[in-house]
Every structure is written in C-alpha cells, then in structure tokens.
C-alpha cells in the first residue's frame, strides 16, 4: 500500500520544528507502525538524509517507550494498544498520516518524535516506592490481601509509564499516571505505611514538573494502552486531601 506521511522534524530541543512530508510506496499491511518507520529511515539513510528519531525498545507493548501522536491521537487509532502494537492494516492505501511527538511543557522534545519523559522518573523518585527493605519473599498467605484488592493493585501496576495520558489530556495532566502509582501502593499492606507522605510528595512533584490540573475529561483512560481506570484518580484525590488535612507536615 501507498502511505503519505507528515512527520514532525525538529533538530534539537531549541530548534524550531515543522511537519515534513514523505511518501512510502511499498508498505505491507502486516508491518507494525514502527517497522514502517524503519523502512522510512532506511530510505532516508540511503539518500544520505537524517533518519527520523523516535523512541522504542521492547516492541511488544510492555516498555512504554514508543510514543507517537498519530493522526490526532496518542498511539494512533487503536485503543488499549501502544504504537508498536499498531499495524498498517489499521490504515488504507493512499492514507495521509500525521505523526507528532507528545506535546507537554513537562515533556520537551529532544529530537523529532523523541521527548524527554524524565519528569515521570522524578515523580516516582518523590515517593513511588516502599522505603523499607522487604527482605526475602514471605510465605504465601502470610500477608493477607483480599482478591479484589490484589486485582485492583495489579490493574494499577499495569501502567507502563508511556505518557499517552499526558499526551491525550487537553491540560497535559499526569493525573492518570501518578494516580496509578499512588493507588497501587496505597491499597497494598506494604505500601500503606507511607501512603500519606507518598501522596503529598508525588503530587507536589507532579505540580513542580509543570503538568496541568485534572478536568476529568476521561481522555487519558480512553487512550491509555493499559486502560488504567479513572477510579485511581479519585483515590489519589482522596489520598492527597486526607494527607494534607491530617499529616503533621506543616511546611507544605
């Protein structure tokens, strides 16, 4: 199939960027979206041009690195899937596809389609962990966790930190990502001990990174490749408000 691409090209974070058009004549519908970019880059390299820089790693939907805003939606037209899991059969012969990087103040463009997502790492460093050494694995059922809680924590833990939630949100808000992390630890016994400080610190870091506030449009959850639920955002609101009202921390 023939595919027309409009790809965001930007030399460096400070350079101005623009959409550049490319045409690919021999795209197989069995190619993944990233493989189609490999073909494009191969042809660019052969012509002596600069290939398109884009993030990718596992190419099996679990690392969260691939991050393209495809035809107006993060990770393209599919729901519940990453860009590496998108195949060209989702498009038709002759289609024009616009590909842009995630857009957010907190995710500056490094080059072309690659953005700097270390803001997420700093949010995790602010509290997305359990600080006690948990030692070796305890016996099964030594710590009782109801099935429903285990399931919910597991659903939250499915977040791969891709940033599609931020990319989709009209406010570039990171609420879905941060709440998945806060939620996952807050409902499990190992994480409960520090749940208040965690909520306070992670929200403070989220704000400091320049992510927007939540308008609860729900776009994040629809576009999330792991379909993380909005329930977690409500839980984080609860955790944060409860913490702010009850911890002894008066400095803020």
């Amino acid at each position: 199939m023939k595919i027309n691409l409009k790809v965001w090209r930007q030399k460096s974070s400070n350079a101005a960027g623009k959409l550049v058009e490319y045409q690919l004549d021999n795209v197989s519908e069995d190619m993944s979206f990233l493989e189609m970019f490999d073909v494009l880059n191969d042809s660019l390299t052969r012509k002596g041009e600069d290939p398109v820089t884009f993030d990718h790693d596992c190419r099996e939907g679990i690392c969260g690195m691939c991050s393209m805003y495809i035809n107006g939606r993060p990770h393209g037209p599919q729901t519940g899937a990453t860009t590496c899991q998108l195949h060209m059969r989702s498009f038709s012969d002759g289609d024009t596809i616009v590909v842009e990087p995630w857009r957010a103040r907190a995710f500056p463009v490094i080059k072309d389609l690659m953005v700097d997502r270390t803001a997420f790492d700093r949010v995790i460093q602010a509290g997305g962990y359990v600080s006690v050494n948990t030692g070796s694995a305890p016996d099964a059922n030594e710590i009782l966790i109801p099935r429903s809680i285990a399931d919910e924590a597991m659903d939250a833990a499915a977040c791969i930190g891709c940033g599609a939630c931020v990319a989709a949100c009209k406010n570039a808000s990171a609420m879905l990502f941060v709440s998945a992390k806060v939620s996952q630890l807050a409902i499990l016994p190992q994480g409960k001990a520090e749940h208040k400080e965690r909520a306070e610190r992670m929200v403070a870091q989220m704000d400091a990174e320049g992510f927007g506030a939540c308008s609860f449009t729900g776009a994040c959850s629809v576009e999330c490749p792991k379909s993380i639920s909005l329930d977690h955002i409500a839980r984080m609101n609860r955790e944060y408000l409860g913490a702010q009202l009850t911890t002894e921390n008066v400095q803020g």
Binding site: L19, Y69, A213, S215, T217
Partner: protein, 231 residues
C-alpha cells in the same frame, strides 16, 4: 498556615475549590428553581412577590446569599486561573488533534461554557437583583401589607423576545456545564464508588443537565406568551 495556602494552590487544591463552589452553586439552583415556580401560579404575581420578600428578609437566607455571591466570584476567578494554568501546560499545540475521539465536548470546554454563565449571571443580576435592591420597583399591596412588585419587573424583562432567546441559550450552556461539572465535582473530592457514582452520574445527566435548565427556560417562555396574550 503555609500548608493551607500550599494545599489550596496545588493543582488538586484548586480543583477542590472549583468543586466545592460549583456544587454549592448547583444546590442553590434547585432552591432557585423551586422558588421561581411561583411564576406559574397565574395569580398576578402575588405568590412570587411574597416569595421574593421572604428571600430578601429572612436572615438565614440573607447569610447564605452572601456565601453564594462569594462562591460565584471564587469559582469564576479560580476557573480563570486554572484555565490559564492548564493552557500553559501545553505551550506547543498539536498540528492535528482529534480530541472528540476520546472525550466529551462539554468536558473540554468548561471555561467557555462558564464564561457564558458568568455573562448571564451579570445580566441576570442587573435585571432583577440590582432592581430589587437598588432600583425603583413599583409596590403591590396584599392584605394591607406592602410588597415590592418584582413580578412586574419579570414581566417587563420577559416580555422582550431577545431577552427570552438569550435566556434559553444560556440555559443550554448551564445544561452542558453541569452535564460534565456535577459528576466531575464529586470525582475531584475523591467521591467515586461503584454504588453511588452511577446515581451521581444519573442526577448530573438528567436532573442538573436537562430538568433544571428546562424548568428555568420555560419561565421566560411562559411569561412572554402570557404578556403577549398568546396563552
């Protein structure tokens, strides 16, 4: 008290202010609508005038009304701050975006809807609240007691077609604002539960987004038709 200002100026704290003021305004809408139903009595405005007298003289209601004015101001101010902040979180916009694929229009345009509401509130308060408090409203007498005849002000205002049309349009904006806002307000407070959220969503979608605005919109239409002897 640094923690108070810090909490309230966090992204979550600002939303809590939006939510509390917004939900308070929503609860006021119920009272306001129920009271204004007196307009349908067809008694030349007596029930309505007695009701407005009560609303402007009862100390409890007068106290609540100051809370209401404050809520409107705080809600509008915080809306402005939040909208600006949220816009600045994406300095470079997408060249091509399809937000309709993942979210409702009203949820993305609360600022625009709210601006329409603010303009409406200003016009509305100028026409009725200002006249009632500072204007020269004719008097009416029932059982030897004097009442301000706000009903005549209502008739004069709703006798104008453009005013009726403006009202109906603004009530559509109220509907869209609350279709998203009412349930979002609970989410902001962290109130989300498998048992209660469906009830809250139902109330938001049908009661606050349809029934209340429709009831409000029916008042100017009814008075217009009455004043012009169409009914």
């Amino acid at each position: 008290m640094a923690w108070v200002t810090q909490t309230l100026s966090s992204s979550l704290g600002r939303k809590v202010i939006m939510s509390l003021t917004g939900l308070f305004l929503s609860s006021f809408l119920i009272i306001h609508m129920a009271g204004n139903l007196q307009l349908f009595k067809g008694d030349g405005g007596r029930a309505f005038n007695e009701y407005t007298y009560f609303m402007t003289h009862n100390p409890l209601i007068m106290t609540v009304s100051y809370l209401l004015y404050t809520s409107i101001l705080v809600h509008a101010l915080m809306a402005f701050i939040l909208t600006r902040y949220n816009q600045s979180s994406r300095p470079v916009k997408y060249a091509y975006s399809r937000p309709e694929a993942n979210s409702d229009w009203s949820s993305r345009n609360m600022g625009i809807l709210g601006t329409v509401l603010l303009l409406f509130i200003i016009i509305h308060m100028r026409t009725f609240w200002y006249e009632m408090h500072f204007g020269s409203v004719p008097m009416a007498e029932y059982d030897g007691k004097e009442y301000k005849d706000l009903y005549s002000v209502v008739q004069a205002a709703f006798g104008e077609l453009w005013y009726v049309v403006l009202y109906v349009i603004c009530m559509v904006a109220v509907g869209y604002h609350l279709a998203h806002g009412f349930q979002s307000g609970f989410q902001t407070l962290g109130i989300r539960h498998r048992k209660y959220t469906p009830i809250i969503e139902f109330l938001g979608k049908y009661f606050f987004a349809i029934i209340i605005p429709a009831a409000f919109a029916s008042m100017p239409i009814y008075v217009y038709l009455q004043v012009h002897h169409i009914i």
